[in-house]
């Protein structure tokens, strides 16, 4: 079992740095959405959103410093959701 001292303390500067990155990414995603990339637009939007989500998860939610168990199960959850969404297209795309 983990010892209680292993609690990770994130510095204010790190957190603030992450906030700045997140705000910057928000600006970027708005900017990108104004350029017409065709089908790529939605993928760009999702990709940038995923990056932002990653920063929130890893730092704000401390996932980076959590146990293996939490990291693995989180990936499993997202993976299941991705499979559910993906498998729908076996139907939608070929109907």
């Amino acid at each position: 079992m983990e010892s209680p001292n292993q609690e990770h303390i994130l510095s204010y500067t790190t957190l603030f740095g992450v906030l700045c990155i997140l705000l910057a990414l928000t600006a970027i995603t708005i900017g990108v959405s104004r350029i017409d990339l065709g089908v790529l637009n939605i993928w760009a939007a999702i990709l940038i959103a995923a990056c932002k989500a990653g920063f929130v998860l890893l730092f704000f939610m401390h996932l980076r410093y959590e146990t293996r168990l939490l990291q693995i199960t989180f990936v499993v959850t997202i993976g299941s959701l991705a499979i559910l969404i993906g498998f729908i297209f076996w139907d939608i795309s070929f109907r």
């Binding site: 168990l69 499993v76 959850t77 299941s80 499979i83 559910l84 498998f87 729908i88 076996w90 139907d91 939608i92 795309s93 070929f94 109907r95």
Partner: protein, 543 residues
Amino acid sequence: MTDVPSYLKTPSSPNLKGIWVWLLTTDHKRIGVLYMISILFWFCIAVTLGLVIRTELMAEGETLMGSQTYNAVFTLHGVIMIFLFIIPGIPAIFGNFLLPIQIGSDDVFFPRLNLLSWYLYIFGGILAVVSLFSGGPPDTGWTFYVPFSVQTESGVTFTVLAAFILGMSSMLTGINFITTIHRLRMKTMGWMQMPLFTWSLYATAWVQLLATPILAITLLIIVAERIFGIGLFDPGRGGDPILYQHLFWMYSHPAVYIMVLPAMGVISEIMPVFSRKAIFGYKAIVYSTLAIAIAGSLVWAHHMFTSGMSDTAVFVFSLLTFVVAIPSAVKVFSWVSTMYKGSVLMTPPLFYALCFIYLFSVGGLTGLVLGAAGTNIHVHDTHFVVGHFHFVMFGGAGFAFFAALHFWWPKIFGRMYNFRKAYRAAILITIGFIVHYMPMLILGLQGMPRRYYNYLPQFEAGNFFAGIGGFIMVAGIMLMLVNLVQGLRKGEPAVGDPWGGTTLEWSVPSPPPLHNFLDTPRVKSYPYDFTDIMKQQAGSKKV
């Protein structure tokens, strides 16, 4: 062993009095018993409704009731059986009672959350009753297919909310179990030393956790559709009713495994104990449990081969369906082989378990007919499906539930029941079962659709026999329950380990004391090691 009062005599916290000893308890064992009482209550109601259905169908034409009433009855039968009986059945009763003991803990990780889950369950049941009086009983079938479920004027909204609440209850139980297994398992118990019942609960809990929210949102959408008229599935506004079916089965197919995995866990406990021999292929069973949980979540659209879905999807989902069949087959072979060169003692729990293996095999094999695309088209939505899933759900999960009742009854209440009556009941139930559901398979092959309150004349004989079987089966169920309850008063006191089991629950007194263990339990390096039992037996003068 020192005399310590059992959990039935000790309130979980000292200031509880009277009925509050039960209603405010946080002891996982008491909560298990609370679940047992409430789940058996709903089970009896649903059995009655099922018998009403079959009685109506025994003769052609309108006999007992009209079409609208019939539709309400089968909807309620389905909703109650699925959401109030089978899904919570084994995990909520036996999981609650045994999971902490099997891993050497004194309770689940969140005892108060556990109690909350029970209250949610009760609340869901009440909502289901309320739905009867708010616009008439629901008449959509338990699948709530759109657009019908959005258009009908019956009280579907409340039924759907009831299912939503029950889903939450089951989800919270899942969270509780996973946390318990991860955090409260004894340090000395590795993953591969965990009893198979606990393993099955673990896999089930993950399915509950990840699949139930999909049901929740699907049901919320129906409520939103009915109240606000959003039109997400309304073809007139571009919606796609087939998408609803995808969402619905994304939960409801994995739900089949929520129902049947714990049942398989029960059988995996019973077979070794009464064969007095290690379970054959422990690891194979563990891996197939996980494989079923994972692959079983990816086959939902095999309920939709005739729905107008794309042929590519039919191909993919049919193929995946056959993949799921394999781990189930592996388990069946392992259970049977467990008896090979064992020392088999026939008892009521083992009898139920053997019936389980037979009936579940029929259910699984008829499932192959449904999984194959070409044959599915003919039998989909017919009585063949009704027969098939009753073989799996009732012959499988239901019989495992009965087996578990007989297996752990002495552990839970500290009293034995009458064996002779138990066998009689079991034989009645099994014979009734076969007479009841075999004709349905044949009727389905002949082309009788399901959810019909009336039928073409050529189907009368089959339906008549099915009805007869139904009555035999219900008589058996009544006898079984009466016998168990009589055991509470008249039965002989049970010792801590009446069957010669090896998992930790048999190392504590029956019924267990409040905190389960009097001293630190000793974990075996292999959970089904019977050498100690054999030594004890050699020590005493018995054969």
